[in-house]
């Protein structure tokens, strides 16, 4: 017995072979001071040209196109969109689901990967959370104006009123109101709390009085004492757990909006899971689209390393495979159910006369293009990954269109059939939300700590008190 115990201990001391060794979280200079300088450099430096080149068009969409489309719709009515009987849900709901979806990968990266102790999330977590916060804002807008009379939005909340009007809590649409609002509040809290120690870093580094004032205000007197970290870590853990619940809850509820309806193509128990995975898949596409240019332009290639991009691509592949499986199941069940309406709807997704192109884009991208991520060469080619990320977003957008409009426009009675075509106001509003999202994101990247500086410092060897580089003495390994 004693002999085998010694052998086991010896085995543990052996370093793993090179191909099994984990890549370092951060490459290059990992001294604590060097990392602090490097990670806060972009927020402190001058505004580069590319930033203006992206910001101005985004700000134009956000401040001109967006309000025009928004106010015209609110003042005139939902009729300015293409929504009409029988397709009462159009691009407004398609985009709502799409934006909620984009949000999900951010929460998954920052919360679920924290619970599973993936240290590489420290470098991309903050950027992913910001993506979540801004896209939930965009998502939340759509249902609020889709109801038609936006000034009656308060009907959706349990506000005591003289008519004794209360929300009807059996409806998943009502649950959606709670889910999306909770998602917005919780992701903002999580994002803000994570930034407090980094605000303190920027406060301590600030050279001008204005900067010092702003970051002192935001850091709220954070000193970084062991007691503060102790409670902070606990709160962070709790928030991560709750955010993980939200990843699985919010899109499930959006899925329930559909599957409680009787419409063929919607009335399926797979919908909650389907929407969660679809959301995560779409979000990973957006993460690739945002990370790949930003890491280059902000000089963060050694922080957000190729290994991190590789892992995001692998997660996109996994969620893409689950999506492919769900498509397969949907078509199989439609055939197996023997229900003529179900069979008809699914047949028309690919071979109909109005929207088959979107059906093929959906299959071609989400099932086809995603398979390219199996190849290491593709996963190491940034341009290819960027394009795949964009395509995933387009593919998932068409998926939502196919689900929403594809089932509505031709339901049980042929006399009830119609068509849906987005109008310029539908498209304008979508462009407006995209512009607003990118404008907010660019502002975040430039003015707030876009990488969790304190978390990255804790994840390098210099930050580990049990590592020789972190000041551990001999025989102190644990």
């Amino acid at each position: 017995m004693a002999e085998s115990a010694i052998n086991l201990a010896d085995l543990k001391k052996l370093a793993p072979p090179a191909e099994l060794r984990r890549p370092p979280v951060v490459e290059g200079d990992t001294t604590l001071g060097g990392l602090t300088d490097k990670l806060s450099a972009f927020a402190e430096g001058k505004i580069p040209r590319w930033w203006w080149a992206l910001f101005l068009p985004a700000a134009f969409c956000a401040t001109v196109i967006f309000p025009i489309c928004l106010f015209y719709q609110v003042f005139t009515g939902v009729g300015v969109w293409g929504n009409n009987h029988p397709a009462m849900w159009g691009l407004d709901i398609v985009n709502f689901i799409w934006w909620v979806g984009v949000a999900h990968a951010g929460t998954l990266i920052s919360a679920l990967l924290f619970l599973t102790r993936q240290h590489w999330r420290t470098t991309i977590g903050r950027m992913a959370e910001a993506m979540t916060v801004f896209s939930v804002m965009m998502a939340g807008l759509y249902p609020a104006i889709h109801v038609g009379r936006a000034w009656f939005d308060w009907f959706m909340f349990p506000v005591p009123n003289s008519n004794a009007l209360w929300p009807q809590f059996r409806s998943p649409l009502m649950w959606d109101v709670f889910a999306v609002n909770t998602y917005m509040v919780v992701s903002m809290l999580f994002w803000f709390m994570g930034m407090i120690p980094d605000f303190a870093i920027l406060r301590d580094r600030s050279k001008t009085r204005v900067r010092k004032f702003i970051f002192s205000f935001l850091a709220m007197g954070w000193t970084g004492s062991a007691r503060q970290w102790h409670h902070y870590e606990k709160a962070y853990l709790v928030l991560c757990g709750l955010c993980t619940l939200l990843v699985f809850t919010v899109s499930s509820i959006v899925g329930l909006d559909f599957c409680t309806a009787q419409i063929a193509g919607w009335h399926a128990t797979i919908f909650p899971l389907y929407f969660v995975i679809g959301a995560v898949f779409c979000g990973f596409g957006m993460v690739l689209v945002l990370l790949i240019p930003l890491r280059k332009w902000c000089g963060l290639e050694k922080i957000i390393t190729m290994s991190h991009i590789d892992k995001v691509a692998k997660l996109a592949l996994v969620s893409g495979l689950i999506i492919a499986y769900i498509y397969l199941m949907e078509f199989f069940i439609a055939w197996y159910s023997g229900d003529p309406y179900e069979r008809w709807v699914f047949g028309h997704r690919l071979f109909g006369h109005t929207y088959p192109i979107l059906g093929w884009i959906l299959i071609g991208i989400n099932v086809g293009v995603t398979q390219l991520l199996w190849f290491k060469k593709i996963r190491q080619n940034l341009l290819a990954l960027f394009i795949i990320g964009l395509l995933i977003n387009i593919g998932m957008w068409s998926e939502r269109f196919v689900i929403v409009v594809g089932s509505l426009y031709q339901d049980f009675l042929p006399s009830n059939w119609g068509k849906y075509m987005p109008t310029i106001w539908d498209i304008g509003l979508y462009i407006g939300t995209l512009g607003t999202f990118f404008m907010l994101y660019l502002l975040f990247v430039k003015f707030l700590p876009m990488i969790a500086i304190s978390e990255v410092k804790g994840a390098v060897p210099q930050g580990d008190p049990h590592h020789p580089l972190g000041g551990a003495q001999k025989g102190d390994h644990s």
Binding site: P158, R170, T182, T223, S225, V238, H467, G470
Partner: protein, 179 residues
């Protein structure tokens, strides 16, 4: 003008060093002291003798409260104040209340965690005596700072300073300010 003394601060260069120093300070029997670091140091909780943080209880209380309030709200609005018949189902049942209450629980739990963190850390605060010290700004960069409070029974301006220097602390300085 004699200012009040908050304590003594000493700098260390790595998390490993500060962890060893903290162990010695604890062994020496100091009671009012703290370690300031740019990130949470693994294992410092044990050295400081911290028990499980109460933040989790804040979260549980607010999350649980929100869950029960959700139930109460739905019962009040859909079954009591304005009974609503939907699909011939009972006025009040658990399945209909669960999802919104669950969502409210997440919201309450998250707010509870944040409120708990602020309350336990006494944040936000407008000022802290340590923030006056120029070298304290390094505690968010790459230095690890131990502060021994002047309200510690073993605190002596000269003795403690010498003791901290022997421990390996650099730039041992007096911090002025109210405790």
């Amino acid at each position: 003008m004699s200012e009040k003394i908050y304590g003594l601060m000493a700098e260390f260069n790595s998390p490993g060093e500060v962890l060893q120093a903290a162990e010695k300070i604890r062994a020496a029997g100091f009671r009012h002291w703290d370690v300031f670091s740019p990130f949470p140091i693994h294992g410092i909780d044990k050295v400081m003798g911290y028990k499980n943080s109460l933040v989790g209880w804040f979260s549980l209380a607010m999350g649980g409260g929100a869950f029960l309030s959700g139930f109460a709200l739905i019962w009040f609005s859909n079954a009591f104040d304005y009974p609503l018949i939907v699909g011939g189902k009972p006025m009040f049942s658990l399945p209909m209340t669960f999802v919104p209450s669950y969502i409210l629980m997440i919201m309450g739990g998250a707010i509870g965690a944040l409120v708990g963190m602020f309350a336990m850390n006494q944040l936000p605060r407008l000022h802290h005596p340590l923030l006056n010290k120029a070298r304290f700004a390094l505690a968010s960069r790459d230095k690890f700072i131990i502060v021994i409070g002047s309200n510690d029974p073993q605190f002596g301006l000269v003795d403690t300073k010498k003791w901290l220097e022997n421990l390996g602390g650099g730039h041992v300085e007096v911090v002025e300010g109210e405790i």
